[in-house]
């Protein structure tokens, strides 16, 4: 069997640097943290180069290392700033509901064909922006669940929370993201249209 053609580590930065950086940025939302973790990934890969079997592609191998680093970073962040009272208060937006729990004004109609929206690059960027506006615990929980596709058991371990607390966090994160998108995307675009 032919030996897989591995690249010289000196070429890694040019070949995979931006790719790994984008992967990290989507999940970490912070340039300098993303750059640091990309650097650590390359260094770990260099140290471990002998164990790279070529069973997966080089980029898959590197992303695997980066993924571990990102999850370690989340774990570390959760330890540094554990959940506060604020993260768990059930309703981030109490004015949405009246005393008996009915909607006061209700979610707006997002119009058009919402299913097409997620293909729009600008809408993706707006979601990323709204995500950066959440507290790290909320944003990291959402990222692990919806971007990484992790199951709740894994996320509880990384963030060191109970399952019940995680549901509250995810509920809050989704509600805040929905409100942020409505305020920054739909209201703007409906004004643009008029």
């Amino acid at each position: 069997m032919a030996k897989p053609a591995n690249t010289d580590p000196a070429e890694w930065v040019d070949r995979y640097g931006d790719y790994l950086f984008r992967y990290a940025m989507v999940r970490l939302r912070d340039r300098s943290t993303a750059e640091d973790l990309v650097q650590e990934t390359f260094l770990a890969a260099l140290k471990d180069y002998g164990s790279f079997t070529g069973k997966s592609s080089e980029s898959t191998w590197l992303v695997g290392i980066l993924k571990h680093k990102i999850i370690d970073h989340f774990r570390h962040q959760a330890r540094e700033a554990p959940l506060g009272e604020n993260d768990l208060r059930e309703h981030p937006d109490p004015s949405s509901f009246d005393g008996s729990g009915h909607w006061t004004s209700g979610p707006a109609d997002w119009g058009g064909n919402p299913a097409d929206l997620y293909r729009e690059k600008k809408f993706l960027d707006q979601l990323a922006k709204c995500l950066s506006g959440l507290s790290p615990n909320h944003a990291n929980a959402f990222t692990l669940r919806e971007i990484e596709g992790a199951d709740t058991g894994e996320i509880c371990k990384v963030l060191n929370v109970t399952e019940t607390n995680l549901w509250v966090i995810l509920h809050r994160a989704r509600m805040l993201l929905r409100r942020c998108l409505e305020a920054n995307w739909f209201e703007k675009s409906s004004k643009k249209g008029s």
């Binding site: 940025m25 260099l46 309703h91 809408f123 549901w167 929905r178």
Partner: protein, 84 residues
């Protein structure tokens, strides 16, 4: 009887775990008569789709669009790789 506030919480929970049958039926009945909660549910699903799409598009190798490492970071990483 579930309120809209209860239902929004259960809708989120149902995206992460399966609800017990009683709650599942309660939510389903509520959605038949409440257009706001139905809309809320659709918007949460759209947000999920968008997050997945975000992960996929930013990491398609070879796509020139999007963020890149800054020149400084590139240089720093290159140096650290040369002198480990």
């Amino acid at each position: 009887m579930l309120s809209c506030k209860d239902v929004t919480q259960l809708l989120s929970e149902a995206m992460d775990a399966s609800l017990p049958i009683g709650k599942r039926i309660g939510v389903r009945l509520h959605l038949l008569i409440c257009k706001f909660c139905l809309r809320y549910k659709r918007q949460l699903l759209l947000i999920r789709e968008t997050a997945r799409r975000l992960a996929a598009i930013e990491t398609t190798p070879g796509l020139p669009a999007g963020d890149a490492l800054s020149a400084d970071a590139r240089e720093r990483i290159r140096k650290s790789l040369a002198t480990p």
